[in-house]
């Protein structure tokens, strides 16, 4: 019952808020304000309640080990294809529930303050709650189809929320981009589900997991070649995960998604939806474990994304984009943790990251709010005395992100890197060194952000500076809560997630074969490896201090001295330009041609228009047969008889 409440409270809240959205009349009237307030209270209340229940579920399932599946009702029952609506709750789900409901609840509360000038509050709250519902169905899915339902649902809500300010063309473009790029991933996911169904003849997760060992050696014939069946399925599923979690190649939508309101960025594009891919791979660990190739790919993609996104984050000037690339980079960490079979480490990082990244986004939102909707860091600076609480909270978030003890990021990032090292494989080492380098860059760009935003001389105009103010309590309270999480979650969760209590804590929800001992080894790595992340973190901070506080003239000179590297980083490795050339423009070209030539000229011309004009001509001719002369008619009849006889003689007698 409690579990159902966790999942469905947001849905009911969303429905009510959706109805309320139609009850607004005019933008400034008293009744509209009341409607706004009501929708905020209902959705926030629903989410807070859901978070409380999620805590109870976590205690019951996670801490006391009562994993269970609640069958709601049958969805599809056709032949051997049997899909139910069910809520599968084990430790993995319970952890995700905590992250989703708490971050979502905080974002809801934060939105009360952040969005109060907006004219579409009920719609916004409705989308947020609806998103939360879809996310919860995704993580509670007991079969792949239900997971896909949630997966598409969060994609839809993401689209709606990125394009929330639909009067902005850039927001619409970003929304479409997010949707289309995700479609690529979702196609992979769908194919993956088909492959799994082909191999296992079911989409029910528990059944799949139980039979996975037997199918470990199954081969699949594709295009005349034999492939390892599970590898194919896993790789296809991973394409889906790459799309949702913005991994290298399919990452381009995430920075653009920052066009949405900041609370959306915090909820969807930092803490929850983008981690769905990580969750999915972890959830499917019992099949990924049987495909070394798939795990290798996961590791390489994750590690590459981590370093790739970090290099871009170093040169961006939009405060939200810096954090977006940072998210991309941190997701890379999670993936290479999964790739070396340190699933619990990946999930651990997912959780801590959820808290501190949401904190950073909401903090950035608070800064933007204070700076009259300015997002460019070059026009900020010198405001730390004016908004001290936000400043302090941003420090906490950045300390956690950079992995400085005792903040949350230290614990999770450490174990991720140690696991990569402990894998003792080629790709493991690659991931370790890339991760280490990325950690250096992470610390650097975090403090670059901090220094550019809060320190130095003010670069905004006087009108903006005069208006800079600390955000109201309704904005600060969620920040403080998340800051608490950012400080404590690593320390509190360490022993449960990856320490001594891990085996008992996770129960059956994750599977690690004995041949993948990375996490075991992670606790026995050399001292230098243990402290390396901390050391590079401090170096990164120092570097940022030198460049942006001590010698603010240096960054420009450095950029000028290595123009190529700077340009590559600043232009995001030219991915957007590349995709534009390879996919977008040819697609538009093709589309225009298919439309003008294919549809307009060929299909309309030969099809509807051509047929109708041909019919008209034939109709005129047919009517013209009727001359009105009797002898024509008689002649036609005799001709008809002759034709019929000839027709018969030719076709029959030959």
């Amino acid at each position: 019952m409690i579990i159902k409440a966790v999942v469905f409270l947001p849905l009911f809240a969303a429905i009510i808020a959706g109805i309320l959205a139609f009850m607004r009349h005019g933008n400034d009237s008293e009744s509209s304000r009341r409607v706004d307030t009501m929708s905020q209270w209902i959705t926030s209340g629903g989410l807070l309640l859901s978070a409380v229940f999620a805590t109870l579920v976590f205690i019951d399932v996670g801490l006391n080990g009562n994993a269970r599946t609640i069958h709601l009702f049958t969805w599809i029952d056709s032949g051997s294809f049997d899909v139910a609506w069910a809520l599968k709750v084990d430790t993995l789900t319970a952890v995700m529930m905590i992250v989703v409901t708490y971050v979502s609840a905080m974002v809801h509360v934060y939105s009360i303050g952040y969005m109060h000038h907006d004219h579409h509050v009920p719609r916004f709250m409705c989308y947020l709650s609806l998103f939360t519902f879809f996310m919860l169905t995704l993580i509670t899915a007991d079969n792949l189809v239900q997971m896909f339902f949630g997966w598409e649902g969060v994609g839809l809500c993401s689209y709606l929320l990125i394009g929330f300010w639909y009067h902005k063309p850039s927001a619409n473009a970003a929304a479409i981009k997010a949707f289309v790029v995700n479609r690529v991933g979702d196609f992979g996911f769908a194919l993956g589900i088909f492959a799994v169904y082909m191999i296992f003849d079911t989409v029910h997760l528990d059944t799949i997991f139980a039979t996975a060992p037997e199918k470990a050696d199954t081969m699949l014939v594709v295009f005349g070649y034999e492939f390892h069946a599970l590898t194919i399925a896993c790789l296809l599923l991973f394409v889906g995960a790459m799309g949702k979690s913005a991994q290298l190649g399919l990452h381009t939508w995430l920075p653009d998604a920052m066009e949405g309101p900041t609370p959306v960025s915090a909820l969807i594009h930092a803490a929850t939806m983008v981690t769905a891919g990580v969750f999915m791979v972890a959830r499917l660990s019992p099949i990924f474990e049987y495909s070394d190739l798939a795990l290798t790919v996961v590791t390489i993609v994750g590690a590459s994304t981590a370093i790739f996104a970090a290099t871009i984050a170093c040169t961006q000037n939009d405060i939200k984009r810096v954090i977006a690339y940072s998210t991309c980079s941190q997701l890379g960490y999670m993936f290479f943790a999964l790739g070396v079979s340190a699933y619990s480490a990946g999930i651990f990082h997912l959780m801590t990251h959820g808290f501190f990244k949401a904190l950073l986004f909401l903090g950035a939102g608070s800064v933007i709010h204070a700076m009259s909707d300015e997002q460019d860091m070059r026009k900020m600076g010198g405001i730390w005395k004016l908004i001290p609480v936000t400043y302090g909270l941003m420090w906490i978030g950045n300390l956690a992100l950079a992995g400085i003890p005792p903040f949350a990021g230290y614990y999770s990032k450490d174990i991720v890197l140690e696991a990569a090292y402990g894998a003792h494989t080629g790709v493991g080492s690659y991931a370790f060194y890339m991760g280490l380098l990325a950690a250096l860059l992470t610390a650097f760009y975090s403090w670059r952000l901090l220094f550019m935003t809060f320190h130095g001389s003010p670069r905004a105009d006087e009108k903006v500076m005069a208006h800079v103010h600390e955000s109201p309590k309704v904005i600060l309270f969620p920040l403080m809560f998340l800051a608490t999480g950012a400080v404590l979650s690593g320390w509190a969760g360490y022993s449960y997630f990856v320490g001594e209590g891990a085996v008992e804590f996770w129960g059956n929800s994750l599977l690690i074969l004995d041949s993948h001992p990375a996490l075991e080894n992670a606790h026995h790595v050399p001292m230098l490896v243990k402290y390396a992340p901390l050391i590079v973190g401090v170096i990164g901070i120092g570097l940022a201090y030198v460049l942006y506080i001590k010698r603010p003239d240096l960054p420009g000179k450095i950029a000028a001295s290595i123009p190529t590297i700077y340009a590559i980083s600043f232009n995001k490795w030219y991915f957007d330009e590349l995709y534009d050339r390879i996919f977008v423009r040819p697609a538009f070209y093709l589309g225009r041609n298919l439309w003008k030539v294919g549809d307009g000229t060929l299909i309309d011309g030969l099809g509807p228009d051509g047929i109708s004009s041909a019919v008209r001509i034939m109709a005129r001719r047919a009517a013209a047969l009727q001359t009105g002369y009797l002898y024509h008619y008689a002649f036609a009849m005799l001709c008809g008889a002759v034709v019929l006889v000839s027709w018969y003689l030719f076709s029959n007698v030959g």
Partner: protein, 491 residues
């Protein structure tokens, strides 16, 4: 059975009753004073009412003598469920069209009692055709019907178009009769008999391919029959006659003779020539396709609604011939169902056309219907329903007529026929829907005359209800058609 034995008259009771009635009504009409307009109108009303009643009584007689297959008059005459079904349909069509014709006749100074009598005569001929079991009785029935129809086509003697229509129909009809007779004589020459039963036996017993002469004979018989159902290429008379003849006559033409002729067509093809179905099937195939295509194409350019209905009927006959081409029980049943639905749709449509009256004059242009929805919304609705039904749009009756035909065709693997049928049905829907468009979306002109005669309203309501609600209770038509088809194929 010796020739001298007195024939069993019971199966022919309806025909006998109708013949006597015709003679009585003729006397009644002739020996009444009808010198002035008023008296002739009165006599006409009297005779028309009596004719309708006679048709209804005949219908009950047909039902009362119905039963298992029985032949009489030395096998010249057959009575089976198929005949019963077709006769009832013919009688319903004839009665309905006579019932709605009175106001028109009076309006156009055509109120002469001969109209009713001639219509009854034609109906008698149709019933004979339906019950024909011999090439001789076939011809006699056909001629009774045709001669009566020639006259009533030209019934409006002072109208050029009407007389032209009558003359054209007569000349072409004579030609068709000639073909039919020529074909019959060829068949007789090869088989040595005119009796359907003997013919069927003869063809069943002969091995190998039939003689070419027989086939030519069949083709000529088929041409004569195709003329009566106005199938392409023997359809040329139809548009001119439909347009030229007085509207009630056109309605009568469109309904009763069509049913009788298609019934006769089926009986001849499936009965005596049933064994040769491989031979005639492809000819019927060609005729069906030509009729469907020409019917739907040529109707598009018509501006006169009666002329359009002529092409529409050609198209409908094409669809019905699909069922005949299939030649099995399902095919025959689908034709009977199709014709049953066709009768009601067509009578309803002509009832609408009879309402197209402005300033005491009939108007026949489709454009005159513009804005009917504003001036006469209920009439517009009825017309729309009939047009949709004719176009074969569910859930109206016309859809099911086509559906059963196409289902049977698919079952018999006549895919080409079904596909062309569906395509021409699509093309055909254009001109039906054009009327709906004119009725609802064009700028309204002057309203039609009020009030609509009660008889027309009654028929309109009745046929509309049948067309709309057929979907809920199709069983009577389907079951009786199935029984009729079974008797034709089995017998």
């Amino acid at each position: 059975m010796p020739m001298s034995e007195f024939p069993n008259l019971i199966p022919a009771m309806p025909e006998i009753f109708l013949s006597i009635t015709i003679m009585v009504l003729l006397m009644v009409g002739v020996f009444q004073n009808s010198d002035t307009v008023e008296t002739s109108v009165r006599v006409n009303r009297q005779i028309l009412s009596l004719s309708v009643i006679a048709l209804i009584v005949t219908g009950f007689l047909v039902l009362s003598v119905s039963g298992p297959t029985i032949t009489t008059f030395n096998d010249l005459f057959i009575l089976d469920p198929f005949a019963t079904f077709s006769k009832i349909l013919v009688l319903i069509g004839a009665a309905l069209t006579l019932y709605i014709s009175r106001s028109y006749l009076e309006l156009h100074q055509m109120a002469r009692f001969e109209f009713g009598v001639l219509a009854l005569c034609a109906t008698l001929g149709m019933m004979m055709m339906i019950s024909a079991n011999d090439l001789m009785s076939l011809y006699v029935g056909l001629e009774i019907q045709s001669l009566s129809l020639y006259v009533i086509a030209a019934f409006r003697r002072d109208d050029l178009r009407s007389t032209e229509a009558g003359l054209k129909y007569f000349v072409l009809g004579a030609l068709a009769s000639g073909m039919l007779l020529y074909g019959s004589s060829l068949v007789y020459g090869f088989a040595g008999s005119t009796s359907f039963a003997v013919l069927a036996d003869t063809f069943a017993q002969s091995d190998g391919a039939p003689a070419v002469g027989v086939i030519i004979g069949i083709v000529f018989i088929l041409a004569g029959l195709a003329f009566k159902v106005s199938a392409v290429p023997f359809h040329m008379w139809t548009p001119d006659v439909y347009e030229g003849a007085p509207t009630p006559v056109t309605a009568f033409f469109a309904v009763a003779p069509k049913v009788a002729a298609i019934a006769l067509f089926m009986r001849v093809m499936v009965g005596p020539f049933g064994e040769l179905d491989d031979q005639w099937q492809q000819i019927v195939w060609l005729v069906a396709i030509a009729s469907m295509v020409l019917g739907s194409l040529a109707a598009i350019n018509q501006t006169n609604i009666k002329r359009m209905m002529a092409y529409s009927s050609i198209g409908h006959i094409g669809f019905a011939l699909i069922g005949l081409c299939i030649g099995n029980q399902a095919g025959i049943q689908s034709v009977l169902v199709y014709m049953g639905i066709y009768v009601f749709m067509t009578v309803g449509t002509f009832a609408c056309i009879l309402c197209m009256r402005r300033g005491d004059r009939m108007v026949e242009d489709i454009s005159e219907l513009a804005g009917l929805s504003k001036s006469r919304p209920l009439l517009a609705l009825a017309l729309t329903i009939f047009m949709f039904s004719m176009a074969g749009i569910p859930p109206l009756a016309g859809f099911f007529g086509k559906l059963y035909i196409f289902l049977a065709a698919i079952d018999a693997e006549l895919y080409g026929l079904a596909i062309i049928g569906v395509l021409s049905s699509v093309v055909g829907s254009f001109y039906y829907l054009r009327i709906v468009k004119v009725v609802y979306f064009d700028e309204p002109g002057d309203a039609f005359d009020q009030p609509i005669p009660k008889s027309i309203v009654t028929v309109l309501v009745g046929t509309t209800v049948l067309v709309v609600f057929f979907i809920f209770y199709p069983a009577p038509l389907l079951d009786s058609a199935a029984a009729a088809a079974a008797s034709l194929i089995g017998g």
